[in-house]
Symmetry: C2
Amino acid sequence: MPRLSRRFVLALPFALPAVLSVMLLKWVDTAAAQADVLSAEESDPNRLGWMQGFPPVSERVIGQPDSNYFSFPKMRWTVCHFRELLPTKQVSRGLGSPSPLTYALDDAINGVMFTPLDGSEPMTWQASLNENYTDGLLILHQGQVVYEYYAGCLDEAGQHGAMSVTKSMTGLLGEILVAEGALDEEALVGDILPELANSAFGNATVQQLLEMTTGLAYSEDYSDPNAEIWAYNAAASPLLKPEGYSGPRTYYEYLATVQPEGEHGQVFGYKTINTDALGWVIARTTGESVTSLLSSRIWQRIGAEQDGYFTVDSIGTPFAGGGLSAGLRDMARVGQLVLSEGVIDGERLFPAAAIERIRQGGDRQAFAAAGYRYLPGGSYRGMWWSLHNDHGAFAARGVHGQTIYIDPTAEMVIVRFASHPVAGNAANDPTSLPAYQAVAEYLLEKAP
Amino acid sequence: MPRLSRRFVLALPFALPAVLSVMLLKWVDTAAAQADVLSAEESDPNRLGWMQGFPPVSERVIGQPDSNYFSFPKMRWTVCHFRELLPTKQVSRGLGSPSPLTYALDDAINGVMFTPLDGSEPMTWQASLNENYTDGLLILHQGQVVYEYYAGCLDEAGQHGAMSVTKSMTGLLGEILVAEGALDEEALVGDILPELANSAFGNATVQQLLEMTTGLAYSEDYSDPNAEIWAYNAAASPLLKPEGYSGPRTYYEYLATVQPEGEHGQVFGYKTINTDALGWVIARTTGESVTSLLSSRIWQRIGAEQDGYFTVDSIGTPFAGGGLSAGLRDMARVGQLVLSEGVIDGERLFPAAAIERIRQGGDRQAFAAAGYRYLPGGSYRGMWWSLHNDHGAFAARGVHGQTIYIDPTAEMVIVRFASHPVAGNAANDPTSLPAYQAVAEYLLEKAP
């Protein structure tokens, strides 16, 4: 199996959750300097013994405030334990009984072969799991669980950071509100949120937020110390600000400072702050926070087994752009709900139009200009990625390999939680996107 | 109704959870200087509008790090929202279906009369609810819910700080281990935890921890700036330590610094650090943290509706002495399990001896010396308070009015969550203890 170093890609096209990203730059520097990165087996958090014992030995402690908890390989523990490091807000599943998933497990999936996009040798599905530092993976086919896998820090009763898959939850809520007529996608953000009228968001439309085609002076280039991401991170942290800090102290305050760059509606620019602004639009429109609305509209309706939670800023604002942690099966339930366009157990939870709009996708030309090597012909809408391949697949995607991958043709949902050492998904796309396609084809072939 | 100021009692016999107590001293000073304190209605957190809106207006924000979040009346919001302010660790209910409680509601309880212990006029049960700043109250009689009430920040799907009721959960786990033979109550703490061999705990027995008859140089007198509670609080905080801080950074490190004062086994001294030491003993003995063991032994077995959670220190150690938040109904389920001496739905979860030992109580003479005005003849064992009254009642008790009150004679469990402006329960005992007794007598009379 090729070592990771061959595939090392430092691009960071997917934003790291703000409160966690401070540590990443150090890691990128360190990792880039290394010829070899620990394999999935070598970096297994149980094997490395993080946080085992009472107390853990000091060199195996991951805690606040200064343990670099999101550096690799520590982050392979941290992705399952954000709430132990940061204040969080609950996404309640409600108080009722969970709806059990039905099982039709198929071990043969382990043997499905695919060819990685980077031209390396064909590999099996099973081999892709460690190649991508997978912590959890579940496949639904025609609504039944055909594959379920846990490793590293995760088990069936755990929660894992969804990273930017969170955006797709926020975006789904936005599309539901648009489809229901509660939110006008032509409305200007500044009209909904007067606090943002004088920011770059003021004259952007809700649709431009949903498609991330706003023109914003905002760089997520972690290697540039002047990039706006640093001010954003400082504002988003719920912890004590440094002595003499006078910048924005919350997501709200930060968003109001964002300056324009270029025109809205021209180019796709993957910028987390669009989702935070959308989260604010949703809260102002509905009178509910994103956590509360995600609970009442989704989590309480899908028979979830576990509560989810969001990290928050210093005044309890949920991080709409990346703060969700949840159980693997519950993410699969959400994926199934999206695949079925809003219907679950025969009940319609929201208009099918919400999902139709996501599947239809965004402006493909605007997307092409952004140059995603492994998503040619793709687009972005409702904070979901459309592959526009012959299966009509679309996905929620988050750094370090998180995904909800939906293939309507194969009636398949794949949910993956992972802790790949490289943040940008360009590092794991070569051994995941074709693997998803291969399993879809396998399932299509065996489908009744 | 008499104003609170008449009953103002500043004694703090029940330890405030460490990470929250820093704010209390300021409040005590302020409140003592005030003639009038806001009533329950006046201080209702919804009425005051804490944290409403996106964003809340600045004078209604309760956040990190400097909003005095545990000062009254803000604390009436905070008691339901600790996780939004602090890192926490989950007490998982597991993934199954909750066991519904059965209901036989009896509105007549509202009219039950009692005479407060301070000699003021008789009042109704219903009037006691606001008198005690009650946020939630549930009464089980013969295993059925006869009364359920929510106010302020709490509803059936919320979680509320249990404060020192947490100690009784840790103590219950300790008694279970003793009853099962996994933990020897005659063993020396220093033999189980070599790290504590040179501290005051070193030559104390597990039994002395369970009964809080250790001789420790430890003051929880918040009005004394040199009291050990301040160093404890600093060690326990999961947040950034002040510049130049060189003291202990975790519960473990703090416990190792505790010095002896007097002899073990002579006098009852209510000191939270006994519970933290017991939590450590439990973790070392079982290889599981208190959160994990409370989940596997209790929360996953009682049909809980919700996860609970503990606040943690900077390395994720759960605050065994006061960090639990949980749902009202789940606390009632725990109370019922204790009343039934370990049996639930016909299944025995632990030996009855664990509860028999608690009911039997601790050294009454050692307790009498501590001078609890409203608990004459009482004792303390397994981190539960025995009233030794003619009903054999015993209770878990936490600052600001938290309780699980168990009356075996009346087959009654009362669970109260509250946010009384005064921490010490001497402020609410006069209008709660006789109210519990009156309801018990009412239920006995109507019992089949």
